[in-house]
C-alpha cells in the first residue's frame, strides 16, 4: 500500500489538521509516514502545501516526486491547480469549490473551474456550506477530508478513530460533530 498525498491551501486555512488526522490513522494502521510541512514566510496568507506520504514499505524522500501524487486535497480551487504537475496519471483531485481571494489578480472563477474540469478524477464541493449544514461551520476541513476518504486506501473507521483521538480532549460533542462533517463529505464523493 502506498498513498502520496498533497495537501494545499492558503496560509491560515488549516490544512495541517487534515494531515494530522490522516497521519494518526496511518500510524494506527501500522503504516510508515512522512509528512513535510511548510512553516515560516509562506504562512502569512501565501500559498501553503504539505506532502504526506504513507506506505507499507519504508519511505525515503520527504517530498513527493513529480507525477507521483495519488491525491491532491485542497481547501482552495486555484491552489489545487498549482500542484497538478505532481498528480499521477490516475490520481484524484479533491477540492473546495470556493475561492479564497486575498490577491488583486485572482483569476476569473470560471477560468479556474474550466481548468479544474480538465482533471480526469475530480471531486469539487463547497465545504463551508456542507459544514454549516452539518451544524459545525468550523468543520469544513473535515468535510474535505471526508470527500477524500474513498481514495485514501484506509478504512473509514480508522479515519474516524483519528478524529476521535485528535479531538478527544475537546469533548464528545466536538468529536461527534466532526465525524458527522466527515461523513457528509464522504457522501458527496460517493454520489459521484
Amino acid at each position: 500500500m502506498k498513498k502520496d498525498i498533497i495537501l494545499a491551501g492558503v496560509g491560515g486555512q488549516g490544512i495541517l489538521s487534515i494531515a494530522t488526522i490522516i497521519g494518526e490513522a496511518a500510524m494506527n494502521c501500522g503504516l510508515n509516514i512522512k509528512q513535510a510541512e511548510v512553516h515560516g514566510m509562506s504562512q502569512r496568507g501565501g500559498d501553503v502545501q504539505s506532502n504526506l506520504r504513507i506506505s507499507s514499505a519504508p519511505i525515503l524522500s520527504d517530498l513527493i516526486p513529480l507525477r507521483g501524487a495519488d491525491i491532491i486535497i485542497s481547501l482552495e480551487p486555484m491552489e489545487s491547480l498549482r500542484y497538478l504537475p505532481f498528480l499521477a496519471e490516475n490520481g484524484w483531485v479533491v477540492t473546495n469549490s470556493e475561492p479564497f481571494i486575498n490577491i488583486p489578480n485572482y483569476p476569473e472563477t470560471d477560468a479556474v473551474m474550466a481548468e479544474l474540469k480538465k482533471v480526469k478524477n475530480l471531486v469539487v464541493l463547497d465545504v463551508d456550506k456542507i459544514a454549516k449544514e452539518c451544524g459545525n461551520p468550523r468543520a469544513a476541513n473535515m468535510v474535505l477530508l471526508g470527500a477524500a476518504t474513498p481514495y485514501l486506501g484506509m478504512d473509514m473507521a480508522r479515519i474516524e478513530e483519528g478524529i476521535e483521538s485528535i479531538f478527544a480532549r475537546k469533548g464528545h460533542e466536538v468529536v461527534e460533530s466532526n465525524v458527522k462533517a466527515l461523513r457528509a463529505g464522504r457522501a458527496v464523493a460517493e454520489s459521484k
Binding site: 496560509g11 512522512k34 509528512q35 525515503l60 491547480l81 477560468a111
Partner: protein
C-alpha cells in the same frame, strides 16, 4: 523503555537532547530551527528536571551560554537557523579551540531554496573552518540517534559537535523510536586543563596544534563510523557519494537497489579512505549534496585533473536550490526531469502582512510623512515588517541582515545623505540593533529610527521578545535624547498624530527613535482563544 512517536525532525532532536540529560537549550528563533526549542519549552519532563529553555537575545549569547554550561561540566544544546551561525561565529569558531567539557551540540538548520531566508549558505563550511565534527542525518530516526550519539561524542573527543539539518529534515514528520526517560544531568565538574579555556596566544598555539591532531583522529573515526556506509554495486562506471538527506532522493529513484556503488556520508570530517576507495574502484564519481558543493569542490580541487567528477559544479545537478528525487534524475541516468508546468490561470500568492497588523499602520503613516522627501531611503531589517517591501506599501529600500537597518542608515547619513530612516522590529532591535544605535548616538548621526514594537518575535511564530517593556530605557541609556524617543499607537485613527511625530523627528538633526507599539494581531488572537478555552 522505548516508544514510537510521530515527530518532526526538530522534535526528534529536542527529544534526544532531553534524553541526553541536557542542562539547557540555548537558542534564538529562526526557521526552520524554532520547533526544537519550543518542544523543550512545552515538555513536562524538561520542566520537572529544571531544563533551561528561555529564548536568548541572539545566537551569539546562546552559543556562549552553552559554553558556560559545558565549562562547568554539563550538557547544552544550541539551535539556530543557518544565518544565525554568522552571528554565533566568533564564539563557535573559538569553541573549536577551547574544546568542550560537558557535551555541546550546536544545531544549524540550513534552508536551501531559501523558503524563508536571505541566502542558502551551507553550515558544513563552519564545521570545516572551526575543526568541529559535523553530523548530517538523513532521516528523523537518524536525527534522534545522532543527537544522542553527538553528546557522548562531544564529551569523549572534547569538542563541540555541529548537527547540520535542512528544511526538509526539520519540518518533516516521521515515526521515531525514542527512549522514554530524561537523562540525568552530570555533577558539576571543571575542565581537566582549565588553561584550554584561556585563549591567550600561548595557550591558543598549544591548543591549535592539539586540535589539528584531534582532527586527524576525527577523520579516521569518520572512516569507521556506522553513519558513513559504503554500499558496493556491480556497475563501476560511476560511484555515487550522497551526503545527508541527498541519500533519500537517490534511493527514492532506486527502490530496487542501486547498481552503482554508493557512499552515504553523514559524519564529517570526510571519510577519506572510503572516498579514496570509490575513486580507485570507479571510473567517475557523482556527488549529491544538499546545499553548496562543499565536497565536490574538495574532490575537484583547482586543477580538476583527476577522476571525472559530476555534480552541482559540472552542471549534471542543479547549481542552486534544494535537491529532490526529480532534479537528480539526469545525473543518475534516469532521463529528463519531468515537466512541472502549471496551468496558466494559476497566479502567485505572495505572503502579506496580516489584516489588522500594526506594521501596516506604521508603513501607511511613514509613506505619507515621507512624501515631502521623494529621495528618502528607508533601510529596513528582518521580520514580518520586511513584507513592507511588497505592494501595497513598497516602503523599504533594504533588508540585509539582522540589525543592519540602523547601521546602514547611519552609514548613509555619515556619507551625506538625508533623510535616512531605519525601520526595525523589537526583537531584531535587541538581537543586533542596540550596538548600532550606540554608534549612531555616539556620533550624533542624523537618522530617524522606527522600532516597530509588536511585543513579540512575530515572523517566527510569536516567541517572547527580549526587550519587551525596556525599549525606551535601552534607547535612553545608549544616548538617545529623551525628548526624541517617541511612543505612538499604530492605529488608523491615530494616523495624523503619527505623521506629525515622524515629521518632527525627521526635522530633528540627530538620532531620534519612534516606537509605534501595538501587540501582534496573531499573538493577541491566540491569547484571546486560550482565555476563552479556559473559561469554557
Amino acid at each position: 523503555m522505548k516508544k514510537k512517536l510521530l515527530l518532526l525532525g526538530d522534535e526528534a532532536i529536542a527529544m534526544a537532547a532531553l534524553n541526553s540529560g541536557i542542562s539547557g537549550v540555548y537558542a534564538y528563533p529562526g526557521t526552520p530551527s524554532t520547533e526544537i526549542t519550543e518542544f523543550i519549552q512545552g515538555s513536562k519532563t524538561a520542566k520537572e528536571n529544571g531544563v533551561h529553555s528561555k529564548w536568548c537575545t541572539n545566537e551569539k549569547t546562546a552559543m556562549e551560554a552553552a559554553l558556560g554550561v559545558s565549562y562547568v561540566g554539563r550538557r547544552a544544546m544550541v539551535c539556530m537557523k543557518h544565518v544565525g551561525m554568522n552571528v554565533a561565529a566568533d564564539a563557535f569558531v573559538n569553541s573549536g579551540i577551547t574544546g568542550a567539557n560537558g557535551g555541546v551540540v550546536v544545531v544549524a538548520a540550513d534552508d536551501p531554496s531559501m523558503h524563508s531566508s536571505q541566502n542558502e549558505q551551507d553550515s558544513r563550511f563552519y564545521g570545516k573552518f572551526a575543526f568541529i565534527p559535523v553530523f548530517e542525518p538523513s532521516s528523523q530516526q537518524e536525527a534522534y540517534d545522532m543527537t544522542r550519539y553527538a553528546f557522548e561524542f562531544s564529551e569523549k573527543m572534547g569538542t563541540p559537535v555541529l548537527l547540520r539539518i535542512t528544511t526538509r529534515m526539520a519540518h518533516s514528520r516521521a515515526v521515531v523510536e525514542v527512549d522514554d526517560s530524561y537523562g540525568k544531568k552530570a555533577d558539576l565538574h571543571f575542565p581537566a586543563n582549565p588553561m584550554n579555556w584561556v585563549l591567550l596566544p600561548a595557550n591558543s598555539k598549544r591548543r591549535y596544534a592539539e586540535v589539528l591532531e584531534l582532527n586527524k583522529k576525527l577523520a579516521d573515526i569518520s572512516d569507521n563510523s556506522d553513519y558513513n556506509r559504503y554500499i558496493d554495486g556491480p556497475d563501476r562506471s560511476m560511484g555515487i557519494i550522497a551526503c545527508g538527506i541527498a541519500y533519500n532522493y537517490l534511493m527514492e529513484n532506486m527502490k530496487h537497489g542501486c547498481n552503482y556503488p554508493v557512499l552515504k556520508i553523514s559524519q564529517y570530517p570526510f571519510p577519506k579512505a572510503m572516498i579514496s576507495r570509490m575513486a580507485s574502484e570507479c571510473d567517475s564519481i557523482l556527488v549529491l549534496e544538499e546545499g553548496q558543493p562543499l565536497l565536490e569542490e574538495y574532490l575537484r580541487g583547482i586543477l580538476d585533473n583527476g577522476i571525472k567528477i559530476y555534480g552541482r559544479l559540472s552542471g549534471e545537478v542543479p547549481r542552486t536550490g534544494e535537491l529532490n528525487a526529480d532534479n537528480i534524475k539526469p545525473a543518475i541516468g534516469l532521463g529528463e526531469v519531468p515537466s512541472s508546468v502549471i496551468p496558466d490561470v494559476v497566479v502567485n500568492r505572495p505572503p502579506a502582512l496580516c489584516q489588522g497588523c500594526g506594521h501596516r499602520d506604521v508603513y501607511a503613516s511613514l509613506n505619507e510623512a515621507l512624501k515631502e522627501y521623494p529621495d528618502h531611503k528607508v533601510f529596513s531589517d528582518i521580520g514580518c515588517y520586511t513584507l513592507g517591501a511588497l505592494p501595497p506599501f513598497r516602503a523599504i529600500d533594504s533588508t540585509v541582515d539582522m540589525g543592519a537597518s540602523i547601521t546602514m542608515a547611519k552609514g548613509a547619513s555619515d556619507a551625506g545623505f538625508f533623510p535616512a530612516v531605519a525601520v526595525i522590529g523589537d526583537s531584531t532591535f535587541t538581537h543586533s540593533g542596540i550596538t548600532g544605535l550606540l554608534d549612531a548616538a555616539n556620533s550624533n548621526a542624523n537618522i530617524t529610527v522606527v522600532i516597530s514594537d509588536n511585543l513579540t518575535t512575530g515572523m517566527t511564530g510569536g516567541q517572547d521578545s527580549a526587550g519587551t517593556g525596556k525599549l525606551e530605557r535601552i534607547c535612553e541609556a545608549v544616548g538617545v535624547e529623551k525628548e526624541h524617543i517617541r511612543v505612538v499607537v499604530p492605529l488608523a485613527k491615530n494616523m495624523d498624530e503619527i505623521k506629525k511625530v515622524i515629521k518632527e523627528e525627521l526635522d530633528y538633526k540627530g538620532v531620534s527613535v519612534i516606537i509605534p507599539r501595538r501587540e501582534c494581531i496573531q499573538t493577541f488572537s491566540r491569547k484571546a482563544r486560550q482565555k476563552k478555552a479556559q473559561q469554557e
